[in-house]
Amino acid sequence: MTALAVIRDAGSRAGFTLAGERVVCDERGVLFFPDASLLAVSDLHLEKGSSFARRGALLPPYDTAATLVRLQAVIADYEPRRVVSLGDSFHDGGGAERLPEVFRLQVEAMAAGRDWFWVAGNHDPEAPAGLPGESVRALQVGALSFRHEPSAGALDGEVAGHLHPCARIVRRGRSVRRRCFASDGHRIVMPAFGSYTGSLNVLDRAYAALFRWERFFAYMLGRDRVFAIARPMLRPG
């Protein structure tokens, strides 16, 4: 699959405009802005497994590998000129230092030939040690602003992460919960990309002040496409 085919195939990928910018919602949980050739990914939480291991929960140590493999795939598809990792790229401040050499090389390969931005997150406020790319608190690209935590109040053109949005619907007595993009067309909150990242329902109080709810959609991640679900269909929990 080539990047071009992906964009033409926008029938299955929810494509819409955010503050006037075209944007593709990819079911793998990334955003692509074709005009800026920019790929955004959020909350990688690399080295979460080893972070838990330090506290005695010996989770399988393959999460970083799994996350990077998926990231490599989307980067190969879109071949973006810029990549923005929207914060919480590492699960804790020591994550980048613990990153095994093999993964460090993978990140370097992915970043080669493109601009790479590490946005500071609450889990990783400091720049990741020894990795290529530029560390920023936030990033402005045209009308779009990229930051980790959504800022208070409804804002135009903001792309953020941090909240790990998911949505739930119930149909014929059965429940479907999926990670999702949360957007009202003015701003968007991205789903977490990391293999071990959980999620928080978009109906949680944490989202209440962020959106104009009458125009809100949860773009739930499916296997082959994104499903746009309107606010009245959503359930808490």
């Binding site: 005695g56 095994p100 429940s175 479907v176 071990y196 679900i229 269909m233």
Partner: protein, 858 residues
């Protein structure tokens, strides 16, 4: 009275009872029963004993006689005297049973004036009392398998158990079949290491294979001082030579008087509510002193309770008892039962075991009992005197259940036993035990391996697997050895494994036990008031998160005998209000907890095949079978009937294996995969305990007749190979099983009240871990444990395999023009039951429909 005792052992001289005991029996005009004296004699000879007796045979007193007689002779501990450890440990599967035994034992002990301190220790025991029990242990401690594990994992375990003489294991038949039994077996092995002369007394209802229990009670693989076992011993004879406890069997008791409810009402084709029978059941309650009503699930209990009160014109005191209710409410019901102030109690399996309350003179079993042994056990609740017949009424909820009840009834008369076979000890439980062992004191791996192999469920464990478990406990056991520096247990210079950090022991204590409940939310009243509506009022109990997920605020449902309206959910609490006078939305029936036993299934098939036996059935049911015979055919005992017929725009296939819902579900999953490959375009399937229905776009009947595929090929045993593996890998069942294994093995922590507040995004869900582990290390020890669990439990692969081999070459196909009478029940389930167990693809297409609806509204 038919109190025949048999004892299989070199008979010791009959034991004489010490004076206070003789006197106590004599004052009441009683004589000790032979099995009580036999048990005492075996114990005095230093043996462990298994006592198999029906309820009401004085089993409990018999079990404690060795302890009580010894304790009676022991001088009371004076202040300042040396520490005295616990003398007798009593372990029961239920907290309530421990409390009940305390009460029943305290009475004779007080009447004989014995200087014996008896106390319980359960999850409900307050911390200060636990603390005090450690410092000054009672003579007899009544507890549960989980509490024993906790006691054993503490650093003073050796001292606490140093004076232990006996372990009494109650309801052993029920304990040994679960992971709790595995944990207990490992605990018992540990106790035997502390106290080599320890004697075990097992109390059990009748079981199919008593020798399994006899081995369970004593140490296996006796270490014969470096002498290798003679090579001439064949593996098969290993069991024959394995050490066993003595056995004492008390036969009989009076034959129970069981009837099947004969209602003038029409017995429904399908469903589980038995609503039709409510007036008759109520009449039966009125005619008896105290009635115990058993059902198979919580939602059935709620429904029955509600319906009974609807017709309760006399205002009879009828109560409800199930595991989800608030403890205080359960205790009130138990108290009321004890004082005989109730006329009826609706209960699930929480009251299943040997609890001896009140003067129950009738047991009503609503729904089919699913197993002959379970029926016998439940009926044993009524009239706790062995020599009077128990009275019981079976209330089938649908027509197939009529057949099943009839079969169960004949089985109970015949004394048939269908307790499930014991399985090998689970590896996740072993991992928990290994960590517990390290918490108590540093262990040597070879020594611990010997100890573990002395526990019957682990008798054939190999050293390599044990090594992998120790490795798992230490560093997660991953091929990628990246966690050495975070190890939970580490080897000392002397080569012993010890806990790396006190925090690890604390984690162990919080996560001990093998019962992993589905996530529960606390259910409480929303306090009325202005402002935020969701303020918490009184607590009603716990409710499965999964159930609440399928309903929305404003929906009504039954709980604690009330119609409640869901107001909202906040964090781990669900808030409700009374919706009295409204009709509850009937809870989704989650299927019976117990699958139909193999024995009963074969009885039902035999009954179907033999028209002479239909006379025993209600006329409407017999008529149903006759019409089936005319319109289609009835399967013979060992064959499988498959019917195909068109209906609407679809084609249906219904098979009648009678192998239980789990095996059918697995079969349905695998058959639809095959039909898909054959181009039959299956759309879905539904499974009940009795039959399996599949519907498709393709004409299944025509395809089978054309041999594309033939039914023999479709039902070929090879479906249990690649198809099973491929399906399993993605199955939600396996994910659920993995979650349980991961919690028991200590990979992920249990959810504890108050800790969830950090929110979902802070925890790592078991599903995510499973996906990562399966992709990167498919042969990890925990995945091995998961597959073993799923195959025996959730999937019933063994039974499916037996069925496939039984019906080979014996499939009867009837291609019909329309639905047959026998097919009606399962056709009625379509749409009610989950259509497809594998959520993924289908839920997506559901969501796709939803988008159009949603976009339409927007």
């Amino acid at each position: 009275m038919t109190d025949q005792t048999s004892i299989e052992t070199a008979r010791s001289a009959p034991a004489a009872l010490p004076e206070p005991f003789e006197k106590w029996f004599a004052e009441r005009g009683w004589t000790p029963r032979p099995h009580q004296l036999d048990l005492l004699a075996s114990a005095k000879a230093g043996r462990s004993v298994l006592l198999i007796a029906p309820t009401g045979a004085g089993k409990t007193l018999a079990g404690f006689l060795p302890s009580l007689t010894e304790l009676a002779a022991r001088a009371k501990r004076r202040p300042g005297e040396a520490y005295r450890g616990v003398h007798t440990l009593y372990i029961s599967p239920l907290k309530a049973l421990a409390v009940d035994i305390e009460r029943n034992l305290a009475k004779p002990v007080a009447e004989m004036g014995l200087p014996v301190a008896i106390e319980t220790r359960t999850g409900d025991t307050p911390p200060h009392k636990r603390q005090r029990q450690k410092l000054a242990p009672p003579d007899i401690l009544l507890t549960t398998p989980e509490q024993l594990a906790l006691l054993l994992a503490s650093s003073d375990a050796r001292r606490f158990f140093a004076d232990l003489r006996y372990v009494v294991l109650d309801e052993l038949h029920s304990l040994v079949t679960s992971k709790r039994g595995h944990l207990l077996a490992l605990g018992l092995a540990r106790l035997r290491r502390y106290v080599p002369g320890l004697q075990a007394v097992g109390l059990s209802a009748t079981v199919a294979e008593p020798d399994e229990l006899r081995r369970w009670l004593v140490g296996q693989n006796p270490h014969d001082a470096g002498i290798a076992s003679p090579p001439s011993v064949l593996p098969d004879s290993q069991h024959a030579t394995a050490p066993m406890a003595d056995i004492i069997t008390v036969a009989g008791g009076a034959k129970p008087h069981i009837t099947i409810l004969d209602s003038v009402e029409r017995v429904p084709w399908a469903g589980h509510s038995a609503r039709y029978a409510i007036p008759d059941v109520y009449e039966a309650i009125r005619r008896h002193r105290t009635t115990l009503l058993f059902v198979n699930t919580r939602s059935q209990a709620e429904m029955l309770f509600q319906e009974l009160w609807r017709v309760n014109e006399d205002g009879l005191p009828i109560a409800l008892h199930h595991g989800s209710l608030d403890v205080a409410q359960r205790r009130r019901v138990e108290k009321a039962m004890e004082t005989n102030s109730l006329r009826a109690i609706v209960a699930t399996s929480t009251l299943d075991l040997g609890i001896d309350w009140g003067d129950v003179d009738l047991v009503v079993h609503v729904g089919a009992p699913k197993g002959a042994s379970r029926l016998a056990q439940r009926i044993g609740r009524s009239n706790h005197r062995m020599d009077e017949p128990s009275r019981a009424i079976l209330v089938p909820a649908n027509r197939f259940e009529v057949l099943e009840c009839r079969a169960a009834l004949e089985a109970n008369y015949l004394g048939a036993q269908d307790t499930p076979p014991l399985v090998d000890g689970a590896l996740d439980v072993l991992a928990q035990h290994v960590l517990g062992a390290a918490c108590a004191e540093p262990f040597d791996a070879d020594d611990l391996f010997e100890e573990v192999r002395s526990a019957a469920p682990y008798a054939s464990l190999d050293r390599d697997t044990f090594g992998r478990i120790v490795d798992f406990v230490a560093t997660g056991g991953y091929a990628l050895r990246s966690y050495e520096r975070y190890a939970r247990i580490k080897k000392t210079k002397e080569g012993k494994w010890r806990v790396a950090h006190p925090r690890v022991a604390q984690q162990y204590r919080l996560n001990v036990g093998t019962i992993v409940e589905a996530p529960y939310l606390t259910l409480r009243y929303a306090r009325a008031g202005r402002g935020t509506p969701l303020r918490g009022g009184p607590v009603l109990g716990k409710i499965e998160e999964g159930f609440l997920e399928s309903i929305a605020p404003g929906d009504t449902f039954l709980f604690a005998g009330k119609v409640l309206r869901l107001e909202g959910i906040r964090e781990t609490e669900a808030f409700v209000s009374n919706a009295t006078g409204q009709d509850a939305r009937v809870p989704v029936y989650a299927g019976g907890k117990f699958p139909l036993s193999t024995y009963l299934a074969s009885q039902v098939r035999a009954m179907l095949a033999d028209p002479a036996r239909w006379q025993a059935l209600p006329e409407q049911v017999a008529d149903w079978l006759r019409v089936q015979r005319d319109k289609s055919v009835l399967p013979s005992r060992d064959s499988l009937l498959v019917e195909t017929f068109p209906r609407g725009s679809r084609f249906y296939m219904v098979a009648y294996p009678f192998e239980g819902r789990l095996a059918h579900q697995t079969a349905g999953m695998l058959l639809t995969r095959r039909l898909e490959r054959a181009g039959a375009h299956p759309l879905g399937f539904v499974a009940t305990d009795y039959s399996l229905g599949i519907w498709a776009l393709g004409d299944l009947g025509a395809l089978f007749k054309a041999g594309k595929p033939s039914l023999d090929a479709l039902f070929d045993e090879d479906m249990l190979g690649d198809d099973l593996d491929a399906w399993l890998a993605d199955s939600y069942l396996l994910k659920r099983t993995f979650r349980n294994c991961a919690i028991i093995a200590g990979l992920i922590e249990r959810r504890h009240p108050g800790k969830e507040k950090t929110g979902r995004q802070m925890t790592v869900s078991a599903d995510l871990i499973y996906d990562v582990l399966r992709t990167h290390e498919p042969d990890h020890i925990l995945l091995r444990a998961t597959r073993a669990d799923a195959a025996t439990g959730l999937l019933d692969v063994r039974r499916l395999g037996e069925m496939l081999s039984r019906i080979r070459g014996r499939i009867m196909h009837r291609d019909l023009e329309q639905i047959s009478p026998l097919a009606v029940p399962i056709m009625l389930e379509i749409g009610k039951e989950r259509v497809n167990g594998d959520a993924g693809e289908m839920l997506l297409s559901e969501a796709a429909d939803l988008v159009e609806e949603a976009m339409g509204e927007a």
